[in-house]
């Protein structure tokens, strides 16, 4: 799918596409390849320049929450990529359903700037709706049976004593590492600020001046992987950088991630740097689940009423 955006057609055109197509993307399934194509007015790719990319998460959907309520409406990532033959590509795993906003600002080598917003609508996994429906059906049947049991016809009714032992709720705040120390491998540094769910984290890779030399020739591959799920959640491949690459990135899951940077220089062996990031989890307040619980209770109550109605109807015959 190509989301074209003839932006000030006389100067710069920006095109955006995803692979696979947007309609096939699902939250937290597989990472998508996001591609930008920037052309000049004559249709030829912009040879030199850079794009500033800013991705914002969908705003809160209203009554019901997504899996990651702290992520809703927040900045997910912000980075600048150089254009190669008018193109810039990166991988990203969309964490939640909803409409994302991607802002792209192009700066050509001669200083011309152009910006454009793109909306990316990610639909929820179909099987999740199926499971939700099945769960609600189960609750309805549960309520239906209870409704029939609680309705006394032709005999003395008695109050049913229901005893359930409930576990105590204990709040526990997960406090993980407060600071991720910079990891230095030779002349290469990979610095990552303390990561907390809901807040963008600064990620910076750099190579010292006295390093392996030929800074302008560095092709950097940066990959962020969710270790528990073994999923790549962000990646840029062989981006030409001049000794430094920085971006802000939000880790949306409070678990361990791996950030791997591989720097390739002409005539040199690749320099690999890896950094483990323990992301501080932020649990949503218990009240965030109230809409969902209210829905489930409503379904049970509906089952209760239907069960009673069916039993009374049978008794009248």
């Amino acid at each position: 799918m190509l989301l074209g955006s003839p932006l000030r057609a006389e100067e710069i055109n920006i095109y955006f596409k995803t692979s696979p197509k947007v309609e096939f993307l699902r939250p937290y399934a597989d990472p998508a390849i996001l591609s930008l194509l920037v052309t000049a007015a004559d249709g030829r790719a912009l040879e030199r320049g850079s794009v500033k990319i800013r991705l914002d998460a969908p705003k809160s959907g209203g009554f019901f929450s997504t899996d990651f309520p702290f992520v809703e409406g927040t900045r997910l990532t912000e980075l600048r990529l150089p254009l190669r033959q008018g193109r810039a590509n990166w991988k990203y795993l969309f964490p939640i359903r909803g409409e994302y906003n991607l802002f792209v600002e192009v700066e050509s080598a001669d200083g011309k700037k152009a910006g454009k917003d793109f909306q990316i609508k990610i639909n929820e996994n179909g099987y999740k709706w199926f499971l939700l429906g099945g769960f609600c059906l189960g609750l309805f049947l549960f309520g239906f049976v209870a409704g029939r049991v609680f309705t006394a016809i032709g005999r003395k009714a008695s109050l049913v004593v229901l005893i359930t032992v409930l576990a105590l709720v204990r709040n526990e705040v997960s406090v993980l590492e407060a600071q991720e120390p910079a990891k230095v491998v030779g002349t290469v540094r990979l610095e990552i600020d303390p990561a907390t769910v809901g807040k963008p984290t600064r990620v910076r890779w750099s190579m010292d001046d006295g390093g392996l030399g030929a800074k302008s020739m560095i092709a950097l591959t940066l990959t962020i992987t969710h270790l528990e799920e073994s999923k790549v959640i962000f990646a840029v491949e062989r981006v030409p950088v001049a000794g430094e690459f920085a971006m802000t990135f939000q880790f949306v899951d409070g678990s361990e991630h791996s950030v791997v940077a591989v720097a390739e220089l002409r005539g040199q062996a690749p320099v690999r740097t890896e950094h483990r990031v323990s992301v501080t989890a932020v649990e949503p307040p218990a009240t965030a689940a109230i809409p969902a619980i209210a829905l489930f209770l409503f379904v049970i109550a509906l089952g209760l009423g239907t069960g009673r109605w069916s039993k009374l109807r049978l008794a009248k015959r």
């Binding site: 997504t66 899996d67 309705t151 229901l162 576990a167 526990e172 949306v252 218990a286 619980i293």
Partner: protein, 62 residues
């Protein structure tokens, strides 16, 4: 409508009121169970039902 007799307590409840009381207790217990299963931060429950919460699409997890 038949009346419910609480013989021991010496009170009589209409069948409809009896149903409402039973349903109220039943829904309260269901609500508490759902709250503990889906919204509590008790680690044993939270970790066990982690995938269930994600699977239900409308239950917040992180």
């Amino acid at each position: 409508m038949e009346r419910t007799k609480g013989a021991r307590l010496g009170i009589a409840l209409s069948e409809r009121l009896s149903f409402l009381i039973k349903s109220g207790i039943f829904l309260s217990i269901c609500g508490a169970t759902l709250f503990i299963a889906l919204a509590s931060s008790y680690p044993a429950v939270r970790d066990t039902l982690h995938k269930v919460r994600h699977s239900l699409a409308v239950v917040p997890c992180h």
